[in-house]
């Protein structure tokens, strides 16, 4: 039993290593994809897209476009329902998604 367990653990370690490899390559692929200028040109949604989502159809939807590394802080809800944004790399754009 002990020998079988040792062999099983070695197999799990191999699986773990292969998964780690796939995660690294997927992360790199996604990074290259989002940085590709051609893809960036078509990487947008429309207000209609947001309104087409059932949960959002009857809601007020605020869209926040912030530079990288912007800090979003949410106060403990038992004290207040507060969101604060602090950017260090440029202005933050906030607007309401129109209903129609």
């Amino acid at each position: 039993q002990y020998q079988a367990l040792v062999k099983e653990i070695a197999e799990l370690d191999e699986n773990d290593r292969k998964l780690e490899e796939l995660i690294q390559s997927c992360t790199l692929q996604l990074k290259l994809l989002t940085e590709d200028s051609e893809s960036q040109r078509f990487a947008y949604v429309t207000c209609q897209d947001l309104r087409s989502i059932e949960d959002l159809a009857e809601e007020m939807v605020m869209v926040i476009k912030a530079p990288a590394d912007t800090k979003l802080q949410v106060t403990d809800p038992s004290e207040a329902l507060q969101i604060s944004l602090q950017s260090s790399r440029g202005p933050v754009d906030v607007f309401l998604c129109p209903e129609s």
Binding site: L19, T34, D49
Partner: protein, 158 residues
């Protein structure tokens, strides 16, 4: 016997870690599919209309959304340089990032909820490298690995 017990614990620890890595890999695959599907949709749409959408009607990625009831009153303070905002709500709200929005728009073909039709599975597979397709198949039929034994044959080299 003691050593055997210790190895059993080691084995469980490894299985847990593999489950987490599989979930992380599946999320990365979903994000890649959703992003490529969105880019493909917009590119085809612009080719058909022969013109880009009106400039103020699109929201470029990355973004996040905050949604709340229409009855909510929001007090908002903004610094003059627009580097700082403070929002006070009088009702609950939700925050979602762009990838969550893409999933809800159906850009990941329902893979995240295990409801993917065979045609959509084919479309999803066309957007990712072949080595990742077994993982997409797993998501498509909703048999998440999170609660299953590790199917060793499915894990292929990168």
């Amino acid at each position: 016997a003691q050593e055997f017990q210790n190895l059993e614990v080691e084995k469980q620890r490894r299985i847990e870690r593999i489950k987490q890595k599989r979930a992380q890999l599946q999320e990365l695959i979903l994000q890649q599919i959703a992003f490529k599907n969105l880019v493909q949709r917009n590119r085809q749409s612009e080719q058909q209309t022969q013109s880009p959408p009106a400039p103020n009607s699109t929201i470029q990625l990355p973004f996040i959304i905050v949604n709340t009831s229409k009855r909510t009153v929001i007090d908002c303070s903004i610094s003059s340089d627009k580097f700082e905002y403070l929002f006070n709500f009088d009702n609950t709200f939700e925050i979602h990032d762009d990838i969550e929005v893409l999933k809800r728009m159906g850009m990941s073909f329902g893979l995240e909820s295990g409801k993917c039709t065979p045609e959509n599975l084919k479309s999803a597979n066309s957007l990712i490298p072949k080595v990742l397709q077994p993982y997409v198949a797993e998501m498509a039929d909703g048999s998440s690995w999170a609660n299953r034994e590790v199917p060793t044959d499915l894990i292929q080299t990168a």
